[in-house]
């Protein structure tokens, strides 16, 4: 049940900026109307963020990861269910790794 000081500080930092995003966003955007470009930029952030996140490991992952990625996107489109899409992707990558021996 140990909590190390460096880990505690990292977690507190994460918690602080997260609450600032949740509550501060409401407090600030209610008081002042953000300029257009800020609002447009914020709308573009999530998609670009997740693309920037998945691109390097996907490229490095090779054909197995690419096939898994295609399965995830297809299942997400078909079912609209995050959990099923994730599980299908893992199953595909696992199955291909097993087939490749």
């Amino acid at each position: 049940m140990e909590v190390r000081l460096d880990v505690l500080l990292a977690i507190l930092g994460m918690a602080l900026v997260t609450y600032a995003s949740r509550a501060g966003g409401y407090a600030v955007l209610r008081a002042v109307r953000a300029p257009d470009w800020v609002q447009v930029l914020l709308r573009h952030l999530p998609g670009c963020l997740f693309m920037a996140y998945v691109a390097p490991p996907l490229l490095a992952g090779g054909p197995g990861a690419w096939a898994g990625a295609a399965v995830v996107v297809a299942v997400q489109l078909a079912t609209r269910n995050l959990g099923i899409a994730i599980l299908s992707g893992i199953a595909a990558v696992w199955g291909l790794a097993w087939l490749a021996g």
Partner: protein
Amino acid sequence: MAEPPGPAARRVVFTRDGVRRGVLRSMPLWVGMLPFGVVIGVLSAAKGLSFAETMLMTTIVFAGAAQLVALELWADPAPILAATIATLVVNIRMAPMGAALAPWLDRLRGWRLWGTLATLVDHSFAMAIAEQRAGGRDAGYLLGVGLGIWISWIACVAAGHLGGGMLQVPPGHPLFFASIAAFLSILVPLWRGARLDLLPWLVAGLVAIAAHRAALPVPLPLLLGTFAGAGLGAWMELRGRGAPGWK
């Protein structure tokens, strides 16, 4: 973003019944979150976080995507600054959510307002907006959905940490594809069509890959890719509108 309170907004209430209804409506989401939560738990164990540390992060940060990104760059000693910056970049997307929920939130005070905001996540936001558009007046619903997701999230991560600690999942195991899979499936509903998103997403991915190849330290590839893509997207959109003040 906030509209002047009309007669509808004036009747906004916050009841225990609304909270209970929100918790009940969140239950179908629990199944969908199970793999994601378990992955966070397994990854936390693999990165050497104790059960107490994992539970503390899950309880007070309560943001799956941010936890995933932070855990991917985790090291010993803990990367305090990198984890905080990465979390901010991932979670800043939640800033406009509260503003969009203003018709409800503006009627709340004290813990009801600031406590409800603490539970705000993508799913509770989406469900509350749908409820609002359907004429819902009970702001307790938003807190209820958030609370339901919070409790199940903590349980899923706990199960993942305990299970992952027992299984000792080795690095490179197919289970770790789950983090990529999670973000890919989040990307699907974010897609707003090729005109708006194709070039920005492409640039975000390519810049991240280039920064990664250049061996820039984490979370720089993520930051550079994100803002290169989002900046281009914003520029393209505003230029198309001919908005003043953007040069």
